[in-house]
């Protein structure tokens, strides 16, 4: 019985017990520190957490199932507008609206995922590119839903009398979603669904002969992935207190792609680290630009170039992404502390 128990524990949520404690410590630390940050850092932290959530979704699709979507900003938009609509026009409670917004996005995502049954690689990328264009166009023309070019206002949520209006309080609200998202992501990866995802990615025919319904697996990947995007979109809308269609352009979709690739495909830590990278790097470069010249505006074109360069260098020297760097760092740290893994 004792050995039995151990074999179950050999696969806890995050690997070893030390890693579990580390992760909980990190979450608590971030939650506490966030309460003392000014608006600038809170904006960064909130954006990272929301992008991380959307990134987890995209990573399930790209990293784990080997499919692709260049429409994740569009899907985020569906979630943002849906939750705004459900709360302000329909009058549903906030949490219910967020879940429903996720489900609506999920349905839209599965619809646009249908081509994945026939298309692969760049062809599927083109199909999802079309999805992004269609969604953006739909946002523009559905004024009753999105406010068109004017966008629409959303209030920060109040739940059971607890207001999340202040940015530091709202961050905790976002963090809760990101943590739950990460836990669910881990659970998916270590159970039947996650194995089906990688089996379909690695060898779809063998997967099918082993009893995996490839159609349903791909649809589940699109559904889950866009559910994450939809919830992230809803959270993003609350944060900005204003949902504008310009926040969900093709450029953002491509940024999400870069995010999961730099972070590390197929790894939860990759989604989080990639989000942090893509949010923080431009800020760091802005600060450097300000040190060189007081007129940061003239540095803007160079900024994009340097950003691209850093991404390329990253892909060459750390093809498995920041998740791998992080792994090495943690292993090194544990070894220094003399912990036996």
């Amino acid at each position: 019985m004792d050995s039995n128990k151990r074999s179950n524990c050999s696969r806890p949520l995050l690997g070893t017990r030390h890693e579990c404690i580390g992760a909980i410590g990190l979450i608590v630390a971030v939650a506490v520190i966030s309460q003392f940050l000014d608006d600038y850092f809170l904006t960064l932290l909130t954006t990272i957490s929301i992008y991380a959530l959307a990134g987890m979704g995209l990573n399930l699709l790209m990293g784990n199932t080997g499919l692709i979507s260049i429409a994740h900003a569009g899907f985020m938009g569906v979630g943002a507008f849906s939750s705004a609509y459900l709360i302000h026009d329909v009058g549903l409670p906030v949490l219910l609206s967020i879940i429903l917004a996720g489900l609506i996005t999920s349905a839209v995502g599965m619809f646009f995922g249908l081509p994945s049954l026939r298309l692969k690689g760049v062809y599927l990328a083109m199909a999802s590119f079309a999805a992004q264009i269609i969604l953006y166009w739909a946002f523009e023309v559905s004024r009753w839903f999105t406010g068109g070019q004017d966008g629409r206002f959303v209030d920060r949520p109040t739940i059971l009398g607890v207001s999340f209006f202040e940015s530091n309080h709202y961050y905790l609200f976002v963090l809760a979603f990101t943590v739950i998202g990460a836990i669910v992501n881990f659970n998916i990866l270590r159970s039947k669904l996650g194995r089906a995802f990688s089996a379909v990615r690695d060898r779809a025919i063998a997967a099918e002969l082993m009893g995996i319904n490839v159609f349903r697996t791909k649809m589940a990947a699109f559904g889950l992935s866009t559910f994450y995007a939809g919830v992230a979109g809803a959270l993003f809308g609350f944060y900005l207190e204003f949902v504008a269609i310009q926040a969900f352009t093709l450029f953002i979709s491509i940024q999400f792609l870069a995010m999961v690739i730099i972070g590390g495909l197929g790894k939860v830590s990759g989604s989080i680290l990639g989000a942090a990278f893509i949010v923080i790097l431009p800020e760091v470069m802005d600060s450097i630009a300000l040190m060189i010249t007081p007129n940061a505006g003239e540095m803007a074109p160079i900024r994009m170039g340097v950003f691209g360069l850093i991404v390329v260098v990253f892909l060459i020297y750390e093809p498995h992404g920041l998740a791998r760097s992080w792994r090495r760092f943690v292993d090194w740290g544990l070894a220094r502390m003399g912990v036996n893994r």
């Binding site: 159970s191 669904l193 194995r195 063998a206 082993m210």
Partner: protein, 255 residues
């Protein structure tokens, strides 16, 4: 009792007649080998049974017609297989590869996965499946590699991982496509024993394609010989060896 009933199965790829009117049955508890020269249609026949291609003719598993049935439904009927060129999932660990074999039995959709630890969740089923997978790996002597990346294992061991993946599916009918190809003599002997144990102790019927005549003669109850997509002989190992047509196909002797 007849387990698998293959009747008048034909399949053409363009102008090439890969299989013509192949008919045979596999009885419960039998090890049935398919032999024949390269290009005789052996793997194609196995692919028809497991659903990769839809042939003409009928294939019945315990009376159920399976031609035209979706490939992923076969494990539920008790049919599972291994592959000529290893078809494992290379980025996964050994145990995750094996678990895929039994996954069709697990009831865990998206919701159960999200509720992992709750009574409705899938953690209990996962734990049971893991135990069964470890047991299968233990039987094949691979337990210590359970958490290793499957791509790191040598060829012979990867073949055995495939066998473990098929075993945990608890098949009634196991299709083996050249299970000993590329193995050393010792590995071949071990694998032959393991197939015999599966057959004798676990009641698994086996359809096996194999080029190593030593292995075939040692464990087969019956043998079918294919040549150019046609069945040219069927019978016990002794009958098949003595068949002049078989000698011609293999050795080019005049019949």
């Amino acid at each position: 009792m007849t387990l698998l009933d293959v009747n008048n199965v034909s399949l053409a790829f363009g102008g090439v007649q890969a299989l013509s009117d192949v008919t045979f049955t596999v009885e419960e508890g039998e090890i049935f080998s398919i032999i024949g020269p390269n290009g005789a249609g052996k793997t194609t026949l196995l692919n028809c049974i497991s659903g990769v291609y839809p042939p003409t003719g009928t294939i019945r598993m315990e009376g159920v017609e399976i031609v035209g049935m979706k490939p992923h439904k076969r494990p539920k009927l008790g049919i599972t297989r291994t592959f000529q060129n290893i078809a494992l999932f290379p980025t996964e660990s050994v145990i995750d590869n094996v678990l895929v074999g039994s996954d069709y039995m697990l009831r865990s959709g998206v919701l159960r996965t999200c509720l992992y630890w709750t009574p409705l969740g899938c953690s209990a089923g996962e734990a049971r499946a893991r135990e069964a997978a470890l047991e299968a790996l233990g039987i094949l002597g691979l337990e210590e590699f359970a958490d290793a990346p499957v791509a790191d294992l040598p060829y012979g061991s990867q073949k055995r991982v495939e066998l473990a993946r098929a075993m945990v599916a608890k098949p009634k009918l196991l299709l083996l496509d050249e299970p000993t190809a590329g193995m050393t003599t010792t590995e071949k002997q071990e694998l032959t024993e393991q197939v015999k144990v599966l057959n004798a102790d676990h009641g698994v019927s086996v359809v096996m394609i194999e080029h190593d005549m030593g292995v075939v003669m040692k464990i087969s109850h019956r043998i079918m010989v294919l040549d150019f997509g046609k069945k040219i002989a069927e019978g016990s190992p002794a009958e098949v060896t003595d068949n002049p047509k078989v000698r011609k196909a293999y050795l080019g002797e005049e019949a």
